[in-house]
């Protein structure tokens, strides 16, 4: 029992993943700033932001359901932490997890997005409602290709539905990124993660210039700090999952520790570069993109996986 609590609260759960997520968030912001000829924030800026938000007033919406509004961000952090534990334990090679944990991971990865939606809808703000409806459509569009890619990975790893076994298979037979289906799957997953994290070009749920940060518009003070915390954690968990699924997980022995860190940083760098070289697309364009192009790519990945490429 004590071990589980340690996993959830300290390592690799809340404390560890939010720290690493904060640093990755700084990395994202720094790269963005350098691309845009700006100086960028200092290393600890994400933590300053978090602490500052905690000290600010939390303003409650007048016409909304206050209880749901307040509880939603807490559940967002819970969901992110559970996802962190389930993804990071096998990826780090600490614990093997249980059979079918990949299916649980699919579910818990959606909890933060769903709770933002619930919180936004509970606030009663029309802009937040637009943001929530966009987030819902976005979830509906990116989930299908994401699942299809996972199917291709399960086929490749010899019908294993356990993340640690998938990683072990890759350690033995080479990372999936070295195969055709792996490359296609990686591209599709990268797009899905871009949408899951709400980064440009799929940030229409926030859409700063259109609906003033839509889905998070009413969050303030502590609630907004928690929303940010969940985002930091997800910024670490999702790239870590990609590393687990395509780059044979992480290894912390000797020089391998450098490679493990580089893998995560590389994925975050790709996400950052995509978000800095594209404008925001419309929600109908995003849906078409995922439903047609990404699904076709994912299905081709499955076909390649079946014929063993």
């Amino acid at each position: 029992m004590g071990k589980e609590i340690f996993y959830f609260l300290i390592f690799p759960g809340l404390l560890f993943s939010s720290f690493i997520g904060g640093f990755l968030s700084w990395f994202d912001r720094k790269i963005t700033a350098r691309v845009q000829f700006r100086k960028g924030p200092p290393l600890l800026q994400p933590f300053y932001d978090f602490v500052k938000l905690l000290s600010k007033d939390t303003i409650l919406p007048k016409n909304g359901s206050k209880f749901t509004f307040l509880v939603a961000p807490i559940f967002a952090v819970f969901g992110a932490v559970i996802a962190a534990v389930f993804v990071l334990l096998p990826t780090f090679g600490i614990q093997t997890g249980f059979v079918g944990d990949i299916i649980v991971i699919i579910y818990v990865l959606n909890i933060p997005s769903l709770t933002y939606m619930i919180g936004a809808l509970a606030s009663g703000n029309p802009l937040a409602a637009v943001g929530a409806s966009r987030e819902m459509k976005l979830i509906l569009s990116y989930e299908v290709p994401f699942l299809l890619v996972l199917i291709s990975i399960i086929i490749k790893s010899g019908m294993s539905i356990k993340l640690s076994e998938i990683i072990a298979f890759q350690t033995a037979n080479g990372a999936f990124i070295g195969s055709i289906s792996g490359v296609i799957g990686f591209i599709v997953t990268l797009m899905c993660i871009q949408a899951k994290l709400g980064l440009i070009p799929f940030d229409m749920a926030e859409g700063e210039g259109e609906i003033c940060d839509g889905i998070t518009i009413e969050f303030s003070g502590t609630t907004y700090a928690l929303v940010n915390l969940a985002k930091y954690i997800m910024l670490f968990v999702l790239p870590a999952l990609v590393v687990g699924l395509f780059f044979a997980g992480m290894n912390f022995e000797g020089i391998n520790i450098l490679w493990s860190v580089l893998k995560v940083v590389l994925v975050v760098l790709l996400l950052t570069l995509i978000r800095n070289t594209n404008p925001r697309v419309r929600i109908d364009q995003a849906m078409r993109f995922f439903w047609i192009w990404m699904n076709l790519l994912a299905i081709s990945a499955i076909i390649f996986a079946i014929i063993g490429l």
């Binding site: 845009q36 000829f37 940030d203 594209n278």
Partner: protein, 398 residues
């Protein structure tokens, strides 16, 4: 029709630099109707002008807009000078055109940046504004100010452009042209930008005539109007250039018109600098002793379209009536046509596409040290600092 939700854009919104209020009546994401409210920013400029002398009015109308701060003095100069019917010296004509076109370049670069920002393309935003900086520095070298140049006066201009400044300006223009090529490539060839802007906020040429829209908004719908060619003023009939038109009337066409107009502006400035070289050491100003009774009408092509000024004089030293019509006044009503039927996302960029003129000015009077709360600089010292920077720029120390 289902229940309609009101999505407010404004009065304070990241899309708007100036308080304006657009109510979008939406059914889901589709905009069904739109109501716009302006007037949050009324400053009574026309009334203020009547209390100033003809000379002073230049510096009042300059502050109508911080971005196109030479187009209003331009139109006002045309209006006032048409009352006595004076012809300004050739050198002054060239200098006026140079300032006007430099302003067009920086205004269009600013719009490209803002449009990128509204699309969430912050890299274009930052890059366009970085490339705009040399133009503002050039303004500082020529006129002494980055904005609100105080360059025009009745009968000519107040400052000359010498040979050294001309060579500096040519260098900056070559640099800007290179950067414009880069931006044009980034915007015109990007498939995602095509998907986002093509067919959005379409205005047909009939709509343009119905609403009386002007400037790049009209030219993007193949409506061939440009005051610089239709009623030439300053040096525009002494140089070769062409009016940029685009088909489609959508946001992409408007971006295209603005981007290509920058090349024309660069060409105009280069020819004006040639003209300045020929009319070496001529007068830059003639003395206009008094403004006789009568009415003067003047217009000028601002970066956003036609600016119209009407001035009435009774022979005294200040106008008895001064009427101003800015281009956004006719362009903003087109929103009802361009936004209704599209989605909320499209409405955001369609409203930005006419480049509504945001007249915002901020003033800083004192600077405090953050940690100790000690005063560091007051307004006079800031002005001194600014003047020192201008001097350094002119001596090329920066």
């Amino acid at each position: 029709m289902g229940k309609k939700t009101v999505i407010p854009i404004g009065p304070y919104h990241p899309l708007l630099e100036e308080p304006e209020f657009f109510k979008l009546y939406c059914d889901g994401e589709i905009v069904k109707d739109m109501v716009w409210e302006t007037g949050y920013n009324h400053r009574g400029i026309e009334k203020i002008c009547q209390t100033k002398t003809f000379e002073q009015v230049f510096y009042v109308v300059e502050r109508i807009c911080g971005i196109c701060s030479t187009s209003h003095p331009f139109a006002y100069a045309n209006a006032v000078e048409s009352i006595p019917g004076v012809e300004i010296p050739e050198r002054a004509k060239y200098i006026r055109s140079i300032v006007g076109e430099l302003e067009r370049i920086h205004s269009h670069l600013l719009w490209v940046g803002l449009a990128g920002h509204f699309l969430g393309y912050n890299t274009v935003f930052m890059w366009a504004w970085k490339y705009r900086e040399p133009i503002l520095d050039m303004f500082e070298i020529i006129t002494g100010n980055r904005n609100s140049y105080a360059m025009f006066t009745i009968g000519g201009v107040r400052r000359d452009i010498n040979a050294e400044q001309a060579t500096q300006l040519l260098k900056v223009l070559d640099d800007v042209k290179e950067k414009t090529d880069l931006l044009v490539g980034a915007v015109m060839d990007d498939p995602v930008i095509h998907a986002r802007l093509k067919g959005v906020g379409v205005l047909t040429s009939k709509d343009i005539h119905d609403f009386g829209a002007v400037g790049p908004t009209a030219r993007a719908s193949m409506v061939d109007i440009d005051v610089r060619r239709d009623d030439p003023y300053a040096a525009y009939d002494m140089v070769n250039w062409k009016v940029i038109l685009a088909k489609g009337g959508d946001v992409f066409a408007k971006a295209e018109v603005r981007l290509l107009e920058m090349y024309e502006s660069i060409a105009i400035i280069k020819q004006c600098l040639e003209g300045l070289k020929k009319s070496n050491q001529g007068d830059i100003k003639i003395k206009v002793k008094e403004i006789p009774p009568g009415i003067g009408i003047g217009h000028a092509e601002a970066p956003r379209g036609e600016v119209f000024h009407f001035v009435k004089s009774d022979g005294g030293n200040s106008p008895v009536r001064h009427k101003i019509r800015a281009p956004s006044y006719t362009c903003i009503p087109t929103f009802r046509k361009s936004c209704v039927g599209g989605t909320v996302s499209d409405a955001a960029i369609a409203t930005a596409a006419v480049d509504p003129c945001y007249c915002c000015t901020e003033r800083m009077t004192q600077v405090y040290d953050y940690s100790t709360g000690k005063k560091i600089m007051n307004a006079a010292e800031l002005i001194k600092l600014s003047q020192a920077k201008t001097r350094d720029l002119k001596d090329k120390k920066v």
